[in-house]
């Protein structure tokens, strides 16, 4: 081994890296935002006559949010590496060790720590926080819809709560598997010492924290009253809170791109010796497919929001038809990201469950190649279906039939993944754990989500169902019923490796049944009112829909209790759960070969892989 001759930096103990943490980040972010705000107030000229209302206020708000963003990222230490590179003073060995959080205890979770295991736990924490906030907003929505007349919330506040709930949950579900488990588990599973780019790994996490504040800020300046899709020109006429949404999406898109490049490079370049593609666990395929799909998809969403900001702050005409813009342009840009994003969420959850299926059935994964073809097929087709969200918009009616066809075609690779799961379960010796039951739950929920999706992909049926509660129920069945179910199973499955303790078995079962029963009660009720014609995103509704809405609200409260039990399980098990053995599930993937606590570089000696991870015996047909 050779090493580069480095022009290294100052002696340890004097480096600026050691002085930066979340407190300095918050302080510098707030100071920057306030300074930019005051400067903007002082120096930005008044709007020209005839300019759009609030154009100057939008400029001030967006600039202040940019000030926050730059200040926060500087304060957390994200810019130290690039500027040290610029100066030709690369980080010294001791500084890298400091950044890795070695011997730092809990403080490492509040710094720009590069150890992938720390980043994984940070992601887990922020995912739980996002679901807690998004779930809380869902309960406000359902409480308001408990009676037909609504009125419990002000209509404007209700709209904002719906939009904020939507975008929080979308972001939460995007990161719920690839964030915690893609970071903590994946590098160990492939036999790597860390991610390919440890500093980019920390960057991807702290960008999400930086993004959260503008979203929160937006709640106090009019909220997000457009729903999570933020259609234009509605969004360009919405209150200043939309600027928070725009900043949130732009920063999150950068985080996604950084994470995508990092995870993909790690898997392509850092797999252990002997881990050929045929021996690479299916979870790795799912994770890479998800982030690789996000890599080209999210920049389109990013651009849609940049243009939205231009329209709001500079009075340009991208989406304003009076000035030559087009609302359809926004819809195209949005859904070019929006539909692949569904699979960005789903594929890692499905892959996590496919990873667990052989463990809890003690059989090889049924047709590994079909699983890969299914993942590849879904990924490929998902970028060709976006306009099925736009049938009713009137955009390009001639394209309705081709988009209907591509959307329905996606059932085929999805069916392949069903086949793999059912084939693995078939005649297996089932070890009835909560993760195994989650596979059954996923099959049930995703079947309903998938079949109802076929109706929505059908142009005549969609003409009736579009914009109704049926659509809301459908995508909750896919994203929550399938996606979140897989993520919760992954949490219980990998909990011993992440915390050194077993997840409380009783609590996991209570949470599982409450969530699944509550979920099916809630969203079957929603299907009923949707079929009967209740539109989505309404604050009150006709009395005829009352009973099913009440059923949905009861189901939602049941889900909430289930998730609170799960949260209690996470906290109590992490603090005082039964100590986990090295390999409690007797699984064969590499992460179970290392002891807890996992050393900084995971392996003393890098492993050599000699077989696939599913050698539990011969599959019976």
């Amino acid at each position: 081994m050779t090493t580069l001759t480095q022009n290294t930096a100052t002696a340890p103990g004097k480096s600026i890296i050691e002085k930066l943490n979340v407190i300095t980040a918050l302080a510098l972010g707030v100071i920057s935002a306030v300074v930019v705000w005051r400067l903007s107030l002082a120096f930005l000229p008044e709007d020209a006559e005839g300019a759009r209302l609030f154009s100057r206020e939008d400029k001030i708000t967006l600039l202040s949010m940019c000030g926050w963003f730059v200040g926060f990222m500087t304060g957390i230490g994200a810019l130290v590496g690039p500027f040290r590179w610029l100066m030709g003073k690369d980080l010294a060995h001791d500084e890298n060790m400091f950044l890795a959080g070695e011997n730092m205890g809990p403080k490492r979770y509040f710094r720009y720590t590069t150890d992938h295991k720390v980043v994984g736990i940070q992601y887990l924490f922020i995912t739980i926080l996002i679901f807690f906030l998004g779930g809380g907003l869902a309960m406000l929505i359902r409480t308001n819809l408990g009676t037909p007349e609504g009125g419990w919330l002000h209509a404007q506040a209700y709209n904002s709560i719906v939009g904020t709930h939507g975008i929080l949950m979308i972001v939460g579900t995007i990161i719920m598997v690839t964030g915690p488990f893609g970071n903590f588990i994946m590098p160990i599973m492939i036999g790597a010492r860390d991610m390919a780019f440890p500093r980019l790994n920390a960057l991807s996490f702290w960008l999400i924290v930086a993004a959260a504040i503008p979203l929160l800020w937006g709640q106090f300046i009019g909220g997000i009253t457009t729903g999570w899709s933020a259609y234009n020109p509605l969004a360009s006429q919405a209150p200043l809170g939309m600027d928070g949404y725009i900043m949130y999406i732009c920063i999150f898109a950068i985080s996604t791109m950084v994470a995508g490049a990092n995870i993909t490079t790690t898997v392509v370049k850092m797999r252990a010796k002997g881990m050929t593609w045929n021996r690479t666990p299916i979870f790795i395929y799912g994770t890479v497919a998800s982030v690789a799909l996000a890599l080209p998809a999210f920049p389109v969403f990013f651009l849609s929001q940049v243009l939205s900001a231009f329209d709001r702050a500079l009075d340009t005409s991208f989406y304003n038809t009076a000035g030559g813009g087009s609302g359809w342009l926004y819809e195209n840009l949005f859904w070019l990201m929006g539909h692949p994003e569904v699979y960005v969420i789903l594929i890692p959850s499905l892959a996590a469950l496919m990873e667990m299926a052989p463990v809890f059935t003690r059989r090889p994964l049924f047709s590994f190649n079909v699983a890969i073809m299914g993942i590849a097929g879904i990924s490929g087709l998902s970028v060709l279906v976006w306009a099925h969200h736009m049938y009713i918009s009137g955009w390009a009616p001639l394209l309705n039939a081709p988009f209907m066809l591509t959307t329905e075609l996606i059932s085929i690779p999805t069916g392949m993944l069903f086949l793999v799961l059912v084939g693995t379960l078939w005649r297996g010796r089932l070890w009835m754990t909560m993760p195994l039951m989650s596979i059954f739950a996923l099959l049930w929920n995703f079947m309903i989500g998938g079949i109802t999706g076929i109706y929505l992909s059908d142009v005549p049926a969609d003409a009736f169902l579009h914009g109704s509660m049926y659509v809301t129920a459908h995508f909750h069945y896919t994203l929550m019923g399938a996606g979140l179910t897989g993520a919760v199973a992954a949490l219980v499955y990998w909990f011993p490796k992440m915390t050194g303790r077993m997840f409380d078995k009783t609590l996991s079962w209570i949470a599982f049944w409450m969530i699944q029963i509550g979920f099916n009660v809630a969203f079957v009720g929603m299907f009923m009112v949707g079929l009967a014609g209740q539109p989505r995103r309404v604050e009150s509704y006709a009395p005829t829909f009352n009973t099913a809405n009440m059923v949905t609200t009861i189901g939602a409260y049941t889900i909430m209790i289930g998730f609170l039990v799960l949260l209690h399980g996470v906290i109590s098990s992490a603090r005082s759960g039964v100590k986990a053995p090295k390999n409690p599930w007797q699984a064969k993937t590499l992460e179970w070969s290392v002891d807890y606590p996992i050393p900084l570089e995971n392996f003393d000696v890098l492993p050599t892989v000699t077989s696939d991870a599913y050698g539990y015996g011969k599959a019976k047909s």
């Binding site: 030709g88 890795a100 490049a261 038809t321």
Partner: protein, 200 residues
Amino acid sequence: MSVETHAHHEHPDVVGSRNRLGVILLLVADISFALSMVFVYFYLRGQNVNNMWLPAATADHPAIEPMSAGPGWIVTAIAAFGLLAHIYGLKGARSQNQTQLKLGSLVAFVASLVAVVYQFNTISSAPFTFSDGAYVSCFYMFVFLNMVHLLLTVFISLGNWNRARLGLYVENFWHVDIVRIWWIWMVVSSLLGAFSLSYP
């Protein structure tokens, strides 16, 4: 771009190969962003909603005439010159000629600065206001976002020259090779903008 993950040293070639793939993947995202901009331009141009792509003259507003595409091509040409200078420097690194490396890196850095100044001049002298129709909106989209690329290029080429000046590329120069990938993409993206604006 460290040569160590934490404590474990790796061969520079291994790290260089990994960094190269990482940068290419990040560029995939940027390419998607740039192609989306081209889509926006030609979509709005094709739709010409309310005949407002290039609004005709009204009683209180003259007709909007498109900008000459020349400035876009000139910025691209300056960027291409910067790329050639960078490649010249890279060849110097490969042949262990540090003087050539330093000279190429310096010229590339200066070219990026000139491009920024020229782009700024194009923006500040444009004969429109932001609300003058869809073409003008797209014009600003291209020039603003090209400006972001150019500013990033100034940062990267300054770092590259400084590191060359300090002799950090004597033994290993994969950084210089990766900077070349960025320069190529920067020129191509600028070219995409200039090409689009040539069809007003």
